[in-house]
Symmetry: C2
Subunit: 424 residues, 2 copies
Amino acid sequence: MSKGNLLYAQSGGVTAVINTTACAVIETARKHKAQIGRVYAARNGILGVLREELIDTGLEDKKAIAALRHTPGGAFGSCRYKLKSIEESRAQYERLIAVFKAHNIRYFLYNGGNDSADTALKISQIGAAMNYPIACIGVPKTVDNDLPVTDCSPGFGSVAKYTAISMREAALDVASMCSSSTKVFVMEVMGRHAGWIAAAAGLAARKPGDAPHIILFPEVPFDEEAFLRKVKETVERYGYCCVAVSEGVKQRNGQFLSEVGTVDAFGHSQLGGVGPLIAQLVHAKLGYKFHWAVADYLQRSARHIASKVDAEHAYAVGKAAVEFALAGQNAVMPVITRVADEPYRWIVESAPLDKIANREKKLPRRFLTKDGFGITPSARAYLEPLIRGEDYPPYDKATGLPKYAELDNKLIRKKLPAYIVDKK
Amino acid sequence: MSKGNLLYAQSGGVTAVINTTACAVIETARKHKAQIGRVYAARNGILGVLREELIDTGLEDKKAIAALRHTPGGAFGSCRYKLKSIEESRAQYERLIAVFKAHNIRYFLYNGGNDSADTALKISQIGAAMNYPIACIGVPKTVDNDLPVTDCSPGFGSVAKYTAISMREAALDVASMCSSSTKVFVMEVMGRHAGWIAAAAGLAARKPGDAPHIILFPEVPFDEEAFLRKVKETVERYGYCCVAVSEGVKQRNGQFLSEVGTVDAFGHSQLGGVGPLIAQLVHAKLGYKFHWAVADYLQRSARHIASKVDAEHAYAVGKAAVEFALAGQNAVMPVITRVADEPYRWIVESAPLDKIANREKKLPRRFLTKDGFGITPSARAYLEPLIRGEDYPPYDKATGLPKYAELDNKLIRKKLPAYIVDKK
């Protein structure tokens, strides 16, 4: 077999360190020139593969690729596009293989979450069925930390660090004003189905009385009465109350709180978000002055305060993905295996994609306090190592801003007829 | 005159660096033991003075005071409480003087914004009228940057840096997803009457096409039609559009947009905030997928990414405040005077409080582009030096969190009868 080319693609919501993984993939691939020819990146994830929009990363200089290590967002473009089953859209899978063939792509690295693992798995299956040898490697990434098998997902550690620090900082603000101003502060965090980020907010508390005083998880049905009682007790005891609420918190019947509007006059659900809704509920029922924050994309793109451990994970899985592909592995994902909590030690291992695809890892019950409003010492032991160390980007002295990578992203010449991607 | 004691108090909304000023005040006062006896801090600002709740900072060790330099929030408690005129509440002013007398306080340093400058001024007047010699020094602080006379206000540079970085980071996120996901991102920032923070978001843009593509200022009446046209043009040209909106943006008739609800079904105004409102407007009128963020307290407490220049300003005004008081100055404020933009040079000077009290500095028209949606090169020349340098706090290796100061804040024994503070 002649030297094959490698194709890397980013998928789903981006993170503060997905480009760290991209950097590792490209830097590692460049070290194996005997086996790997060109290193391509798909423009906008799998959509770019379907459209034959392939970026030649070989045209970017070493410094630009190195700068990816500390640049948030998805440098080649990501996408939200889930391929259907092979039965339902065989033509799409055949198109992917056609693009691979046209550009002699023998290694396909798909950097994403559960859905992407599923896509990578299916591509490896269709490759085998069509007798086109392709090494498909899923590369883990998600701020939600909901991938199974791997101990944690690159991207999560940084959003966890941002969340814990932001909660602590905002709490210092609230604590200093509460005697005559805001008494309740609500911070909404991401995590539609799993409460890992909400749990990370809990790391801000070091001793009794520290914020966050209450965490609302998607895993725990919202109990309005118990919640309001705890807010009141907290304000009466400490003078203020800080709440971290996951965007995915649900009613007992399973409906998202953000879609329900538990209190009249909440208006359109897309307007609010659950953070303002919870804050308003507290005000309506208890009368406290409140503030709320919704960091939204700020949390998952906060490369300026990325966790060093997270950045190391992100780099390691990118490097391992290339090495696994070169070693002939297929339909696998490099995963983080924790060897010890204290001192924290970890290794990268290979796991089959079919153990990862389409599965969701939620917070285990033992990570939640009995009342469901906080995290336990086990949760802390798990979470704490993931936010250790600060992996600061370099800054430009004149502008005071981080020096983030800017790539040319030149597309290679197409060889196939144009292809129109179906809307989902 | 025997050695006098010094009283420091924090007022109004806190910042990432108000404690840096507190650190400077205490460290400088400790160096002048011949003139200054004890260094007290009022608990919760002027309320603590009225209630005779005075913290003896002499009981805090050197390390704890040094740690204030990098700790956000107000370490001694701040308050929102504006004293009325001397005519309206002479008893309150007399109470303040009584507390000063009881504890031999000869230097009063009040760290706040326009209202606090007014309070400090009035106290110096009542002191003179009551024949009680007291040096009243206002010490500048406000994230809003709306104090006159001073070139900038400590606290602003750090929120400006946070805002510019957050906008750039979120924009990288949006840009990488826009082909198949969010096309419009709206970030709401503080600044109810002056658009300085919104303007700082503009620093994130370095070249044409960079985010933020649109800034909405309180100084420019909201023109829905022009705004929507620009959003559409931007999305069509660049694939996405990022908007920074000041919480204080107003309609042509002067009403806050956040209180109006320009589109039906916006519901309760306290729920929304103008960020979600603008995002929803874009969706309703143009149909684009959107996200929005409201950083709220996160922005003004983000000590983890404080501007070095801002921290230097904050320390310098605290030091100067003590030195001015010792030099016999009264009813003045140390202000930052800009000597040169490039290379940036500044000095601290003394300005009379009556030039500062109750006045608001808005964005000058020459800082705004002709269409009112962006900042000019003059604005950039003014703003850029203020966000230079990163003044990182130290971190705890085990927890991955900043090591913020924790003070004992022990109150001294009261000497006067209890005093009930009127509610505003």
